[in-house]
């Protein structure tokens, strides 16, 4: 894996909401065909980082090179073109509620290709079979379970046979069995199609199953990067705390301040 070339390169990325800087000095590379996990606690900036990687936000400074091209400097049309090589699975699946599952998967094909409707229909069925959702083509997203919706989201992300796929919290809100099934699906997609995958998560169990390399974010900065084995040997206190699943030191909370927030004298 270490010999593979880097297909996503993030250089000195800084992202801010107004004056509030949420990501700074972010540098990492994602290699072709690997599953790269962005790991971090709530509010660490991992979803913001993912939104920058797929072009839903523009950084304040820094560059994101995808396939050697500067994604941050592209015109709107060039970005739209680049996005055809990308697929994204959203945390809440983000399927269009007014369309059936099949129409959701077919949407990118209808918008970007001139394929016959019969061909699109076949391709849609293949993608849905691929994620284990054969037979639910005519259902509305609201008629599916959470796990099925996420699988349908993967099928839609795969519709245009992308080179890169991004997952935002794929196993969040799912029971362990369904979550394990999704982890397996992410692995299968990567190994079958040699997809370069970027996964944002805070679930350590998923990370152990899917990750080739991991980037740990804390308070908007990268505090560790490497394979799971390398990170388990990390000396960084936050990485050690995260991997050992230890709580913050409650003594650090100002008890007088905490009392002032309640009605306790």
């Amino acid at each position: 894996m270490s010999d593979s070339k880097s297909v996503i390169v993030v250089e000195d990325l800084e992202v801010a909401y107004g004056e509030r800087v949420v990501l700074e000095s972010i540098n990492f590379e994602v290699r072709a065909g690997e599953i790269f996990v962005i790991l971090g606690g709530s509010g660490s900036g991992k979803t913001t980082l993912l939104r920058n990687l797929v072009g839903l936000m523009r950084p304040r400074s820094g560059r994101i090179l995808i396939g050697g091209q500067d994604f941050t400097a592209m015109s709107s049309d060039e970005r739209m073109e680049m996005r055809r090589k990308m697929g994204m699975c959203f945390q809440g699946s983000a399927l269009l509620g007014s369309l059936s599952v099949a129409d959701n998967v077919a949407l990118p094909l209808r918008e970007h290709t001139k394929l016959e409707e019969s061909t699109i229909d076949i391709m849609t069925r293949i993608k849905l079979e691929l994620v284990g959702l054969g037979g639910v083509e005519d259902y509305l997203p609201s008629e599916l379970s959470g796990g099925m919706r996420k699988r349908a989201g993967v099928a839609r992300a795969m519709a245009m046979d992308p080179e890169f796929i991004f997952y935002d919290e794929p196993s969040a809100g799912l029971d362990p069995i369904v979550a394990a099934g999704l982890d397996q699906l992410i692995r299968t997609m990567q190994s079958t199609f040699n997809l370069t995958s970027v996964v944002v998560t805070h679930e350590m169990e998923s990370v152990k199953i899917i990750a080739d390399r991991v980037c740990v974010l804390h308070k908007g900065r990268v505090v560790g990067i490497g394979s799971l084995d390398e990170l388990e040997r990390s000396e960084h206190p936050y990485v050690r705390q995260f991997f050992a699943r230890l709580p913050d030191d409650l003594n650090e909370i100002d008890s007088a301040y905490a009392r002032s927030l309640t009605a306790i004298d």
């Binding site: 839903l56 959203f90 945390q91 269009l96």
Partner: protein, 263 residues
């Protein structure tokens, strides 16, 4: 004083930002409606037709019923005064001119703003909350092309079409009450109506209705894109959409009435 000036400054800045956002939206809509199809980048005709059915055909029953009743009311109110002068036949003139120049376009626009403008805001707002707009962008599908352009074409087609029908229905309403309640001769009413209508009445009413459609659609879309937060945000902006639409409809109406007064 400084606080007041600060608030005024913030309000002005917000209004300028809103005007800029609406301008960008207008330009993008025109690009996806006119220029992009010429360059072969497609237009969602099927979606536009579906929206014409939703905005136009499905609005007809309620618009028709309200316009019929307003026709009845105007005729009865007119009779209250005209009867004293033995001039009940002129009820037809009053109903026809009111319907064509003012009431049918206005009532149609207000009902469609309440029924469809709010639906546009709720649809786009819910899509934004559920990350569906982000999903479209990541798939390389422009939300203005996919969502706004078909709705815009449908609205500027449906509102004048429904207005034309509602003009006719309002006149029928006037005819019904004038004939069956006031006692005007049916044939006299029809001949008075035909004699009182001039081409300009019809044209001004329909031109206004096109711009009412433009206002309803852009306000609905703009408010939808403004939604923040969850279901509460959708509710707030949907209400704001209807209020803003009706206010804009009245302003556009005033503008055209002044314009046509001098033409």
């Amino acid at each position: 004083m400084i606080d007041l000036l600060g608030r005024l400054g913030r309000w002005t800045r917000e209004q300028i930002a809103a005007a800029l956002q609406v301008s960008v939206l207008i330009v993008e809509t025109i690009v996806w409606l006119v220029i992009a199809p010429i360059r072969g980048r497609g237009f969602r005709w099927r979606s536009a037709v579906e929206h014409v059915v939703e905005f136009g055909v499905r609005s007809l029953p309620i618009v028709g019923m309200i316009c019929f009743l307003i026709g009845v009311i105007i005729a009865l109110q007119a009779s209250y005064t005209l009867d004293q002068f033995g001039a009940n036949r002129y009820i037809a003139d009053l109903v026809a001119v009111s319907a064509l120049r003012e009431l049918a376009p206005l009532m149609t626009a207000i009902i469609i703003a309440g029924r469809c403008g709010s639906a546009i805001t709720a649809e786009i707002g819910t899509m934004k909350v559920n990350e569906e707009l982000d999903a479209l962008q990541v798939m390389g599908v422009n939300p203005v092309k996919y969502l706004v352009a078909p709705k815009f074409l449908a609205m500027v087609t449906a509102v004048p079409a429904v207005t034309a029908i509602s003009m006719f229905i309002m006149i029928i309403g006037g005819w019904a009450s004038a004939v069956f309640v006031v006692g005007v001769e049916p044939v006299v009413y029809v001949s008075q109506t035909v004699g009182s209508i001039v081409e300009k009445d019809l044209v001004t009413g329909l031109i206004k209705s096109v711009f009412f459609g433009v206002a309803i659609c852009w306000v609905g879309v703009y408010r939808g894109f403004q939604v923040e937060g969850g279901a509460e945000g959708v509710g707030l902006k949907t209400t704001a959409s209807v209020v803003t639409s009706i206010f804009l409809i009245i302003i556009v109406d005033l503008g055209f009435t002044v314009l046509f007064y001098y033409l």
